[in-house]
């Protein structure tokens, strides 16, 4: 859920860059002696379309944040589960070490030349 919103904001950043690009194309076309009117119209409609999309998306994000923000710090934590999991992995590692020692002891007993 958070990733979707962050991805939407990254898409907004791309659209802001395209707005500036289209605006630059408009100015570049205006600087020519003979303008291509259809090109100008297309670029301008893309500028206005992108601007509207950016404004809509950012307004929607700000509205969502107004609804969910509490002003308090989040006090959730995964420490407990992480600690339990770490202890389980430590138990498994200890078991592996002890079984390794047992295996080596058995090999020494079976083959005294080792």
């Amino acid at each position: 859920m958070a990733n979707d919103r962050l991805r939407a904001l990254e898409e907004v950043e791309n659209q802001i860059a395209t707005i500036l690009q289209y605006a630059g194309n408009v100015v570049l076309e205006l600087s020519k002696d003979k303008h291509n009117a259809s090109f100008l119209d297309r670029q301008l409609s893309q500028v206005t379309g992108s601007v509207n999309r950016v404004a809509t998306e950012l307004s929607s994000q700000i509205r969502y944040l107004t609804q969910v923000a509490t002003g308090q710090p989040h006090e959730g934590s995964t420490y407990s589960a992480r600690k339990d999991c770490q202890m389980a992995l430590n138990r498994a590692e200890y078991t592996r070490v002890k079984l390794g020692e047992l295996g080596r002891t058995c090999e020494v007993m079976l083959d005294p030349q080792l």
Binding site: A2, L58, Q67, H74
Partner: protein, 140 residues
């Protein structure tokens, strides 16, 4: 439950500031682009000489283009601030991420303990057989 929760003043003013910045920057881009297009029109009659008018238009277009770029950069900064605010204050998604992580860690721990328990049971059976063999031999 009230539809609009009372936010602390700082958060409320921060979000209002974001709204204001958004409106100002969008208006700045559109207004400056409109004025550039208007200025591009060559007037037949001017109050000053053509060269002076051209110089003025040139300077005005530079300034307005710089304003458009500034507004674009300000929008980028706004998006960055919104991302930061979202990460810190979007409690539903933070809660979801925490519960997902807890679930994954607990399932890993349970799987680990289950395998250790089955290993213990197998070794206990083998130990029982070894003890039987040892205590019925002449080496006990």
């Amino acid at each position: 439950m009230a539809s609009q929760r009372a936010l602390p003043q700082s958060k409320e003013s921060l979000l209002q500031n974001y709204n204001k910045r958004l409106k100002d920057d969008i208006r700045s881009i559109l207004d400056n682009l409109t004025e550039i297009i208007k200025t591009a029109k060559v007037e037949d009659e001017t109050q000053v000489s053509r060269a002076t008018q051209a110089e003025q238009d040139h300077y005005e277009m530079h300034v307005r283009a710089a304003n458009i770029v500034r507004a674009g950069e300000s929008l980028m900064k706004l998006v960055s601030d919104l991302k930061q605010f979202l990460i810190l204050n979007d409690f539903p998604s933070v809660n979801e991420a925490i519960s997902l992580q807890n679930q994954q860690l607990r399932s890993l721990q349970e799987e680990c303990d289950k395998k250790l328990t089955s290993l213990r049971d197998e070794i206990a059976i083998d130990l029982y057989e070894l003890e039987e063999e040892y205590y019925s031999s002449r080496y006990k």
